[in-house]
Subunit: 216 residues, 2 copies
């Protein structure tokens, strides 16, 4: 079974720890702040938790981080610590180092020192929120590639009372209907005679320019 470590137990790091731990994986939480380590132990979000300074390679080695397959570096506000920690881990032989970045330049530095994967959690969620605010009827978007998506939309008033066959989404909009949802319960591949009602949800797949023509 794979073992993980998370360096930096802030909001993001704790969530990574907690999820891995609840999925049954062995995960070690590390932070230079004693209180955060004790918090992680009390909240039982990791198998173990240790206080150490991750910019010190010998501390990482003694704690066994160099033997692990994947380490997540979740330090956002201290770019120097984040970058030095990532370098230490790659030089220590860790195959997969995932690091979070707070800016483009932070991300570039992390890539330079060998981070295998860089994530921008705050930025990505900020963009996602902004997009959802501008198209309130478009609830979620699952981007397949730059031109195609799957979207969950609120059934617009124009579609109220019409059957799926009536709407003929493929011919009129170039979209495939995948599922409809009434009161939180999804039905996949609904029958063409299903009559839609405004306020229901529907999930469609197609080109983005076709999705943009939906009256939502």
């Amino acid at each position: 079974n794979r073992q993980f470590a998370v360096v930096g137990l802030g909001r993001f790091g704790r969530a990574v720890c907690m999820t891995l731990h609840h999925l049954g994986y062995e995960v070690l939480g590390v932070d230079s702040d004693e209180r955060r380590v004790n918090q992680a132990i009390n909240d039982e979000i990791a198998s173990h938790a240790l206080s150490l300074d991750s910019t010190d390679p010998s501390a990482l080695r003694e704690a066994g981080l160099f033997e692990l397959d994947t380490v997540i570096v979740a330090i956002g506000n201290f770019i120097q610590e984040s970058v030095i920690t990532t370098l230490n881990l790659k030089e220590g032989g860790v195959p997969h180092v995932v690091a979070k970045a707070s800016s483009e330049i932070h991300g570039k530095l992390l890539k330079r020192v060998g981070a295998d994967h860089v994530v921008y959690p705050e930025h990505e969620m900020g963009c996602e929120l902004a997009r959802s605010l501008t198209r309130p009827g478009l609830l979620e978007r699952f981007e397949l590639d730059p031109d195609h998506s799957i979207v969950e939309v609120v059934v617009p008033v124009e579609f109220d009372g019409k059957t799926i066959a009536d709407l003929d989404l493929r011919k009129r909009y170039g979209l495939n209907l995948l599922a409809v949802c009434q009161d939180g319960k999804f039905e996949i591949n609904p029958s063409p005679v299903t009559r839609l009602a405004k306020g229901w949800l529907m999930v469609v797949i197609g080109a983005n320019k076709c999705i943009d023509r939906l009256p939502v």
Copy 2:
């Protein structure tokens, strides 16, 4: 056209501002830190940017925030400021206040003072990263409801060289194949005679317990 304001120009707040601004919406950026305001003006991520203390209701009124339809409160580390700001905005008559929270208790307080929508960006992305690390073959998951999802998976070696018709995913796994992807280009509704190759991507929809049976 709807107007927005973002209070708190950290990583998350800046991304919300920038995205709304690039989508052509009028957005006002607000922060108590003069440097963050100047940064937002220099980077052209908002239509306007102002320095003010959002815990002061008269400062919010003078800046015109009470006339807006939607305000985003993106203050995470200062719970008191975040909660007071949200209360000010709701008392000032703003119809939609979206606030980010750093913990469950922070979220509860925000709901109590009238936040219309609470988001947990770091927590949500931390959970998402952890899940993606444990099933490397499962690239993205789009949850429809607690029991059904759409997932993007790497075509496993077991499916290499087989046609979609051979695989008969609906009968053998209870899943519908929506799209396949070769070298970054998606094909929606691929023909049943398409021969899959390991390493390609495929997007399927179905019950989570059916998805879990895929050899990825």
